[in-house]
C-alpha cells in the first residue's frame, strides 16, 4: 500500500472514469480529461468573474488585464503588429498550459501537461499553423525562411540544411521541453516526499522524523520552485510560439 503510494510514476497513470468509444478509437473520459475540463472551467470562471468592464479595475480585473497586456506585449514585440491576429490563439495556449501546470501542483490532481501526447499536440498545432499560414500568406517565398539573406554563398547550403533541421525539430523540442519539465518536477517532488515516508517506515516515528528533516526541507524548497517552473514553462511555450509565428509572418527575417 505504502509502496504503491511511493511509486513516483504512479501519479502519471491515466484512469478511465467513463468508457467512451468512437469507432476504433477509445476516447474514454479519464482523469486527464477531467483535469482538462477543470482547467477550462477554472479559466472561464475566473474571467467571467473578473471581466466586469469597469473603468477602474478591481483586483481580479487587473489580473485579467495584466495577463492580457503581458501576452499582447510579448506577441507584439516578437511577431510585430500583424501578429496580433494570433493573439487569441497564443493567449489560449498560455492560459491553458499555465492553468494545467498550476492545477497539477494541487495534491492528488493529475497534471495533463506531464504527458508527451498533450504537449506534442499543442506543439504540432503551432507547427501546423506556422506552415499553413506561412504558405497561404507568402506562397513560395515562405521557403526564404530556409535561405537566409546576408550569408556568404559558400556556406549558404550548409546554413540552409541547418535551418531545415532546426525547423523540423521545432515541434519536438517545443513539446519535450514542457513535458519533461513538468514530469521531472513532479517525480522529484514525489521522490523526496516519499523519502520521508520511507524513513519513518525504516526508523520508526521519532528516528524517521529526525532523519526525514532533510528530504522534507528538500520538498519544501522544491515546491515553490515547481510553481515557478509551471509559470516559466507556460511562458516559454507561449514565447516560442510567438517567435515561430513571426517566421510565418515574415519569413525573410
Amino acid at each position: 500500500m505504502i509502496a504503491a503510494g511511493l511509486d513516483p510514476i504512479g501519479q502519471f497513470e491515466i484512469k478511465k472514469l467513463a468508457e467512451l468509444k468512437i469507432g476504433n478509437f477509445d476516447i474514454s473520459f479519464t482523469n486527464s480529461s477531467l483535469m482538462m475540463v477543470i482547467c477550462v472551467a477554472t479559466v472561464s470562471l475566473w474571467l467571467l468573474l473578473s471581466t466586469k468592464k469597469s473603468l477602474i479595475p478591481g483586483r481580479a480585473q487587473s489580473i485579467a488585464e495584466v495577463s492580457y497586456e503581458f501576452i499582447a506585449d510579448m506577441l507584439r514585440s516578437s511577431a510585430g503588429k500583424d501578429g496580433m491576429k494570433f493573439f487569441p490563439f497564443v493567449f489560449t495556449l498560455f492560459i491553458f498550459i499555465l492553468f494545467a501546470n498550476m492545477l497539477g501542483m494541487v495534491p492528488f490532481f493529475f497534471t495533463t501537461t506531464s504527458h508527451i501526447v498533450v504537449t506534442a499536440v499543442l506543439a504540432l498545432m503551432v507547427f501546423a499553423i506556422v506552415i499553413v499560414y506561412g504558405v497561404w500568406k507568402n506562397g513560395l517565398s515562405f521557403l526564404k525562411l530556409f535561405w537566409p539573406a546576408g550569408v556568404p554563398i559558400a556556406i549558404k547550403p550548409f546554413v540552409c540544411l541547418l535551418e531545415i533541421i532546426s525547423f523540423i525539430s521545432r515541434p519536438l523540442s517545443h513539446s519535450v521541453r514542457l513535458w519533461a519539465n513538468m514530469m521531472a518536477g513532479h517525480i522529484m517532488l514525489k521522490v523526496f516526499a516519499g523519502f520521508c515516508i520511507m524513513l519513518v517506515g525504516a526508523f520508526g516515528v521519532v528516528g524517521g522524523s529526525l532523519a526525514g528533516i532533510l528530504p522534507f526541507l528538500m520538498t519544501f524548497a522544491l515546491t515553490p520552485l515547481e510553481f515557478l517552473v509551471s509559470f516559466v514553462q507556460a511562458y516559454v511555450f507561449a514565447l516560442l510560439t510567438c517567435i515561430y509565428l513571426s517566421d510565418a509572418l515574415h519569413p525573410g527575417h
Binding site: 510514476i9 504512479g10 476516447i27 479559466v43 501526447v117
Partner: protein
Amino acid sequence: MINAMTLMGLKLAAAPAGGENAAEKVFPPFNPDYFATQVFWLLLTFGILYFLLSRIFLPRIGQTIEERSSRIADDLDAASRMQKEAEEAEKSYERALADAKAKAHNVAETTRQSVDAEIKVEMDAADAEASKAAEAAETRIRGVRAKALANIESVASEAAQATIEALTGKKPTLATVKKALN
C-alpha cells in the same frame, strides 16, 4: 515511432520500484492506449477554451482597456485645453491690469501737469504783484530819502546858524550859512 516510444516506456517502467506488477506496466506517458482519448479531449477542451476566449473574454478585456485608454486620452486633452484657456485668461487679465496701470499713470501725470501749470500761473501772478509792490515801496523810500536829505541840509544850516549866533552873537542869514556849508 510509437513502437520506439513504447519500448522506451517499458524500459523506464521497469526501473521504478513500484507495485508487484511494475514490470508489466508501461511508463504512463508512453502508453499508446490512452493517446486517442488525450488527443480527443485536449482538442475538445482547447477548442472550447479558444472559442470562449476569442469570442467573449478577450474582446471584453480588450474593449475595457481601450475604453479606459481613450477615456484617459480624452481627459488629458480636456485638461490641456483647460490649462491653455486658463493661461489665456491669465494673459488677458495681465494685459487688462497693465492697461489700467498705464491709464492710471496717465491720469496722474496729466493731473500733475495741470496742477503744476496752475501753480505756476498763480506764482507768476503773485511774483508780479510782489515786484510791483516792491517797486512802489522803493520809489517811496527813494522819495523819503531825498526829502530827508533835503531836510538834513536845512537842519544843518539852521544848526550852524544857531551855533554861529551863539558864538559870535551875530546871526548870519540862512543863505550865507548854506553857501558856507556847501
